[in-house]
């Protein structure tokens, strides 16, 4: 390899240098960024990382951008929270939450991948960028592109949550509502990218974009004091994140930043869109596409591009995949908020409910160090909680009225001073 990284076909291994391309010309399989780890060895050290900025760019040496790239889109370095209260509820004694509900600037882990994709869009000279999105990616691309002065076209399913639509439009992006589901948007984007010279972050820039997800894995290891967990629970839509966290761990081991150890990878889906968990449970290698029908719209991808790789990552690690109902998703959103003060969107409800089930079924043992990845913020999907809480009758602003209200509520006599 003559450069620090380059595109390679994931199936046949053909090298393509660096260009806005995501499909192998020989076998039509997806391309992926491969790093020359030996070249990174001197630069990607614990010391260099610790001295870097307090965001994902501290791992720049293993993110696909030029060595002299100056980041203007900080994202990442989100909290890794110990979760004893949630743990007590679900039978976990060593549980952590990786909280990308507070990833900046748009409150989802997509800010990480977009930061890398847009750096490459600029490097390749695109003045217009776009994406197909279930919402979070739309927000992240719109914000990132605004900051860099790029024109933006974003395709979303017409039934997307209002908050996610507003959170895209506010940045001045051109939003195209498609009369179809995400898979329809996605297919159309593949065609648009062939006709127009635009940088589509999840089409022709996809290999670079996906690499940004590794920063989740790097952060987990660093925040655990440079060690790997026993288990990771990851939400799956296209199936990329789980494979990239695994890749990040592998690179950390290869460069000697953490000790090698087996890590089990667990995938989480909504039952209403569960092509990957269905395949894992059935022992299948391939994906049977599904028509999504779930409130977890950010995970509603019926034909997941990285499905076969996610299945492989899970199976090889000795992990498992589970899927949960919409009712369980809402309960889990509430449970995570009530126990740990983390308000996540529906995808995080999926991950939390699946995590609980994995403990309940004994697939994860109570004492094992487990990280549950929360990837988005609850403020974007408040519609699923409509009607969940009673609108109380207002109390008059008098102490006697308040005391009476408290008395009624608690059933205890409260003395008024």
């Amino acid at each position: 390899m003559t450069t620090a990284y380059e595109l390679r076909c994931r199936e046949c291994g053909r090298a393509y240098g660096n260009q806005p391309l995501s499909i192998c010309e020989d076998c039509f399989s997806p391309l992926e960024v491969e790093f020359d780890l030996e070249r990174a060895r001197g630069r990607f050290t614990r010391e260099a990382i610790t001295a870097g900025p307090l965001n994902m760019w501290r791992y720049k040496a293993l993110l696909p951008v030029a060595e002299d790239y100056v980041p203007t889109t900080p994202a990442g370095m989100t909290p890794l929270l110990s979760a004893p209260r949630l743990g007590a509820r679900i039978g976990a004694k060593n549980l952590y939450i990786k909280n990308d509900a507070v990833c900046l600037p748009t409150l989802s882990f997509k800010d990480r991948v977009v930061a890398v994709a847009l750096a490459n869009a600029q490097a390749f000279g695109f003045d217009t960028v776009g994406c197909s999105s279930t919402g979070n990616l739309a927000n992240a691309v719109a914000a990132g592109a605004a900051r860099l002065g790029l024109k933006t076209y974003i395709l979303v399913p017409a039934d997307l949550e209002p908050a996610k639509i507003l959170n895209t439009q506010v940045y001045g992006a051109t939003l195209v509502r498609i009369d179809g589901n995400y898979d329809h948007c996605n297919r159309l984007c593949s065609q648009i990218a062939e006709k127009y010279n635009w940088g589509f972050v999840n089409v022709n820039l996809r290999p670079y974009y996906a690499e940004g997800s590794k920063s989740v894995g790097f952060e987990i290891a660093e925040q655990l004091g440079w060690r790997l967990p026993d288990n990771v629970v990851v939400p799956m839509a296209g199936g990329s994140l789980i494979t990239k966290i695994k890749k990040a761990f592998r690179e950390l081991v290869a460069l000697g930043l953490v000790a090698d150890k087996p890590v089990k990878f667990f995938g989480a889906q909504a039952t209403g869109c569960s092509p990957i968990s269905t395949a894992v449970k059935a022992g299948a290698d391939g994906i049977e596409p599904q028509r999504p029908n779930t409130i977890a719209r950010s995970l509603a991808i019926g034909n997941p591009a990285d499905g076969p790789y996610a299945i492989k990552a899970i199976r090889e690690s000795g992990g498992w995949a589970e899927d949960v109902s919409d009712v369980e998703i809402v309960s889990a959103i509430q449970e995570l908020a009530e126990t740990e003060g983390v308000f996540t969107e529906t995808a995080g409800g999926v991950t939390t409910a699946v995590t609980a089930r994995l403990y309940a079924h004994g697939r994860i043992k109570p004492g094992e160090l487990t990280v549950s990845c929360i990837t988005g913020n609850g403020l974007k999907t408040t519609d699923v909680l409509n009607g969940a809480y009673e609108q109380a009758v207002p109390v008059k602003p008098k102490m006697t009225e308040f005391a009476a209200w408290l008395d009624e509520r608690t059933g205890e006599l409260v003395e008024v001073a």
Partner: protein, 93 residues
């Protein structure tokens, strides 16, 4: 009967830049055979070592994934438009 088939950019290197064909193929296997007959250079790229069409190549009929329509059993109708999309992109987490 005539069915329009739109080929992706990735195929065109192996199809002398032909982007679109009309076919009388009745089913997906017939269509693949037709494509290989017209563009012999495409064959080795279209099929893996096991002789099967590579798993990352997707076929859509009138914007619907052919796997929802019966896949290999689906009988093309006059006027159908078939899209071939290799390695569907998108998605992330």
């Amino acid at each position: 009967m005539s069915v329009k088939v739109v080929l992706p950019n990735a195929f065109q290197k192996h199809t002398n830049n032909v982007k679109e064909i009309e076919t009388t193929a009745g089913t997906l296997p017939d269509l693949v055979t037709d494509l290989e007959g017209r563009f012999p250079a495409l064959r080795q790229h279209l099929r893996g070592e096991d002789g099967q069409v590579r798993k990352f190549i997707n076929f859509y009929v009138n914007e619907e994934d052919i796997r929802f329509l019966g896949n290999e059993k689906y009988q093309f109708q006059d006027g159908d438009e078939v899209l071939v999309i290799p390695s569907i992109a998108g998605g992330c987490c």
